[in-house]
């Protein structure tokens, strides 16, 4: 594609989808992890990818965000092909993600952790910081304001100065989401956001996922094990099993789909 890497995807030529992964196949030494999978993410939806253990959910996710490169197939973000790009290049293009577990800086405060998410938007460097002229000051003010908006959005005002390492798991997870949002992503990919949470934390997280879609108009892709949450908040669901896509549709359809029931719901 003609566009230089590192520039944000501009106008969308395509109205049907924002992100598309077409005919993806991935295998490790002959073990087929993903077999000819095609998925797309539209401009405004909460999309869930579910499946039993070992179905290939995380493999698919890692293909989308660039940790794995599939042997066959193409991935597009907007009008740009990104199949061969590295994760940080995809991040610059507007792909935000949160991790399974929490991958934050435990020794930094919540604000500083969120500011690291703004890194790709900052133009000044350490030397600028050392001399700290007006330009640097203005940038700091602007970025801090952005971060404060996210703090307000995620209702973490009371912990903004706390060290992340001292927070509960649910709050750390919220900071993790905040850092992904700080990038101003076009699409947010969340890897098992509810894993290891208690009921209340799950409810909070589910509400924030819905808010991200409604208030910020960012589509969200969730890979999630917890069926109940997924059925409640997702607009559309893909179901994987043994590396194959076995169903796609609205939650009500998925619940009734015999293949899904057999592969997933019926397993217990």
């Amino acid at each position: 594609m003609a566009k230089p890497h590192g520039e944000k995807v501009g106008t969308m030529k395509n109205d049907a989808w924002l992100m598309l992964a077409e005919n993806i196949s991935l295998s490790f030494d002959g073990i087929v992890a993903l077999n000819d999978i095609t998925v797309n993410v539209s401009h405004s939806e909460i999309l869930a990818i579910i499946g039993p253990n070992g179905a290939g959910k995380t493999c698919l996710l890692n293909c989308l965000n660039g940790f794995y490169h599939p042997q066959r197939g193409q991935i597009f973000l907007g009008d740009q092909e990104i199949t061969s790009l590295k994760p940080h290049q995809r991040a610059k293009l507007g792909m935000g993600r949160t991790f399974q577990g929490v991958q934050l800086f435990p020794g930094l405060s919540v604000i500083d952790n969120l500011l690291t998410g703004r890194h790709i938007h900052m133009k000044t460097n350490a030397l600028h910081g050392f001399f700290y002229r007006r330009w640097t000051h203005r940038e700091e003010m602007r970025e801090r304001r952005k971060v404060e908006e996210i703090i307000d959005f995620l209702e973490i005002k009371h912990i903004r100065h706390k060290l992340v390492g001292s927070l509960s798991y649910g709050l750390r997870k919220r900071v993790d989401v905040g850092r992904a949002l700080a990038m101003d992503p076009l699409v947010l990919i969340m890897d098992e956001p509810m894993a290891g949470m208690n009921l209340e934390e799950k409810e909070d997280m589910a509400r924030f996922v819905i808010d991200i879609r409604e208030a910020k108009d960012i589509p969200v892709v969730i890979v999630e094990h917890d069926m109940l949450v997924v059925m409640d908040i997702a607009d559309r669901i893909y179901v994987l099993n043994w590396g194959n896509l076995i169903a796609e549709g609205k939650p009500e359809q998925i619940k009734k789909d015999p293949a899904v029931v057999e592969a997933y719901l019926g397993e217990g």
Partner: protein
């Protein structure tokens, strides 16, 4: 009857304040317009938003109020109608109230944690036509009631979080109303200034619904003059500095905040600071260097417990230093309070204690600069007062009723902590000085000042409170020889036992609540019962930590509360209080409730007072077991979960004896 007032110091303290009210200023909006002309670009409101204290000058506030008021007018709100407001303390809440008053409407504020059902009666009774809500949470409650409150034609909200997908014909944002106001000002000749000028001092400024420990809430009328009267009573009793930094934290649903944040804020004036979130109050108090603070007794008590529980986590050396600092502080400060001279040696010790311990305590609580600390309402344990005074925080009681306005306050530099203070001075323009009278039963009657303005649409209840021109407070007090009032209890709450002894339930309960291990307590005992019993709601936080440190295993709240060693701890706490009581009034038996008392289950009022009659009915089997001499029984308690589900809690409850006589009662 005693004459109590001497106005000479009051006149000195008032300074030029009364003259402000002579400038054609009769209502709060008129005062806002007048003062904005004087103070223009100085700060009136501050609110922490996006991590920064955002400032609103007098001109800003006036502009916000003006556009919102005109917006309300264009929505058809008329003179004499009601605007109801519900939310946490935020500038928009204050602006909404001033705006409603600007066009001659009255405001009524609700506690933000009321349930929809609890709000319904007050919305209907106050005849509200517009509901101003803070956020989604409040809007949801109002929408839930929509069919039951047909008079409400518009629902306004100012926090747009989570409201993106709401589509309801009655819903509008605060800003949309202000935009309508701007258009309205262009189209209509009758200006904001004319609307404000039409207001009269005896217009109703706000309705304050009494918390309703008994029966339905009653809407107490606060007029503009009433609120000015209050401010001058306080300003006369204590030399308050203009532009004092004040933290608005208590809800305007409580009359006290109407008097402070709303009225005194404009008249004195204050710089009114709004905390970022209820969870950040402690931090915010520190940031703004608060100078005046009004809390309810439970809030002061929880602040004191906070210090104590944090100290319990500290190491032995720090604990020793803390104990020593508080001991020295107590000796010196409490001595000064009694008017004693402090010797040179003690002054030296105090300096040392202050620099090493007390200063840091005050600083950490944010009370370092605070010179006017009030506990609103009676019934706080003197231990809490002693604690704060020892720390160097001059805490004062102010006592009054919403109906009859503020009556007394601890004044001057030497006062008795066991009392709620001496009578407040009334500015002569508002009426005669306050007078007190005690009935044979010890009930306090009061008259003077502006007097009682009545309950809204409830003349019977109004008449019931009056007796030959005196307002009956329903509070039992006694008066010291220095004319200080000692608050004992509510008249209806003083209780007699079958033995002929009387006991003051609230007195016992507040002293129990001061224990870091006890969150709430209710005493039992009446004409059919021969001794005083108590229900204890343990503080699971501090006791949980206490238990963990000692390796005591527990699973649930119920399990913890009935633990043998926990019961021993509570027993010790009750024995401390028993020492203060005469023999016949001592607590003889108690039990720890197996669940927390909860306002959502109507067990507590919103201001966290216990609802005695309700509890006596709900826990009737507990009471009968206690007085039958049983030492343990199987209890079933219905519980309501937050999501509306109900269930039953099963637990074995132990009843504990305190004194030797406890074993052979009845």
């Amino acid at each position: 009857m005693r004459k109590l007032t001497d106005l000479s110091t009051a006149h000195k303290n008032w300074g030029e304040l009364p003259q402000v009210l002579d400038q054609g200023v009769e209502t709060l909006p008129q005062l806002l317009v007048y003062q904005a002309g004087r103070f223009g670009d100085r700060v009136l409101h501050r609110k922490k938003d996006f991590g920064i204290w955002q400032r609103y000058t007098w001109n800003d506030v006036l502009e916000q109020v003006k556009t919102f008021a005109m917006g309300l007018a264009s929505l058809g709100v008329k003179r004499g109608e009601t605007v109801a407001i519900v939310g946490e303390n935020e500038p928009e809440l204050f602006w909404s109230e001033y705006a409603a008053q600007s066009i001659g409407a009255k405001a009524v504020c609700f506690y933000p944690d009321l349930t929809a059902a609890q709000m319904e009666y007050m919305i209907v009774h106050s005849e509200a036509v517009v509901m101003v809500c803070e956020d989604q949470e409040q809007v949801d409650k109002v929408l839930e009631l929509e069919e039951k409150i047909p008079a409400v034609h518009t629902i306004v909200y100012w926090d747009e979080r989570g409201m993106w997908k709401y589509d309801h014909p009655k819903l509008m944002t605060f800003k949309q109303v202000q935009e309508m106001g701007k258009e309205y000002m262009v189209r209509h000749s009758r200006s904001f200034e004319e609307e404000v000028a039409t207001g009269k001092g005896d217009d109703i400024a706000a309705l304050c619904y009494t918390s309703g420990t008994t029966g339905l809430p009653k809407g107490c009328i606060l007029s503009h003059t009433y609120l000015f009267d209050t401010v001058l009573r306080l300003a006369g009793a204590y030399p308050l500095k203009p532009f004092t930094q004040y933290l608005s934290y208590i809800s305007p649903a409580w009359g006290t905040e109407q008097m402070f944040g709303i009225a005194m804020g404009l008249l004195l004036p204050l710089v009114v600071n709004f905390p970022e979130e209820p969870e950040t109050v402690q931090e915010n108090i520190r940031e703004i260097g608060v100078e005046a603070l009004v809390f309810s007794p439970p809030q002061w008590e929880s602040l004191a417990s906070l210090v104590q529980s944090k100290i319990m986590d500290a190491g032995p050396i720090r604990q020793w230093f803390y104990e020593w600092g508080i001991w020295v502080g107590g000796k010196v400060n409490l001595g000064r309070l009694e008017g004693k001279k402090v010797s040179l040696g003690w002054r030296f010790f105090y300096l040392l204690a202050d620099k090493t311990v007390l200063l840091h305590l005050r600083d950490n609580l944010g009370l370092q600069d605070s010179y006017f600390n009030l506990s609103g309402g009676a019934g706080m344990s003197p231990d809490v007062f002693r604690f704060f005074h020892a720390m160097g925080v001059k805490l004062r009681s102010v006592y009054g009723t919403t109906e009859m306005n503020l009556l007394t306050m601890n004044q001057g530099e030497a006062y008795d902590l066991e009392t709620v203070g001496t009578v407040l001075p009334v500015q002569p323009k508002f009426g005669p000085p306050l007078e007190f009278k005690l009935t044979d039963g010890g009930e306090l009657l009061a008259r003077g000042g502006l007097g009682f303005l009545g309950y809204y649409k409830n003349p019977e209840a109004t008449a019931k409170q009056m007796m030959d021109g005196w307002y009956c407070t329903g509070d039992v007090v006694s008066m010291t020889d220095k004319n200080e009032l000692v608050y004992l209890d509510r008249l209806v709450d003083m209780r007699g036992l079958s033995t002929g002894h009387f006991y003051p339930p609230q007195f016992i309960e507040t002293r129990l609540r001061f224990s870091p291990f006890i969150k709430n307590a209710m005493t039992l005992g009446d004409k059919e019962k021969s001794f005083v019993g108590a229900f204890i709601n343990i503080d699971a936080n501090t006791l949980g930590t206490w238990a963990e440190k000692r390796g005591i295993a527990y699973s649930t709240f119920a399990d913890l509360s009935q633990n043998q060693r926990i019961r021993e701890v509570i027993k010790g706490e009750i024995e401390k209080v028993n020492r203060l009581l005469p023999e016949g009034s001592k607590v003889k038996r108690f039990l720890n409730l197996p669940k927390e008392l909860d306002p959502d289950e109507d067990e507590l009022t919103r201001s966290r007072k216990i609802r005695r009659n309700f509890l006596e009915e709900k826990y009737v089997t507990f009471i009968s077991h206690m007085y039958q001499g049983v030492s343990e029984f199987k209890a079933e308690v219905p519980v309501k979960y937050q999501d509306g589900r109900t269930g039953v809690l099963n637990a074995t409850v132990y009843i504990n004896n305190l004194a030797k006589e406890g074993k052979e009662q009845q």
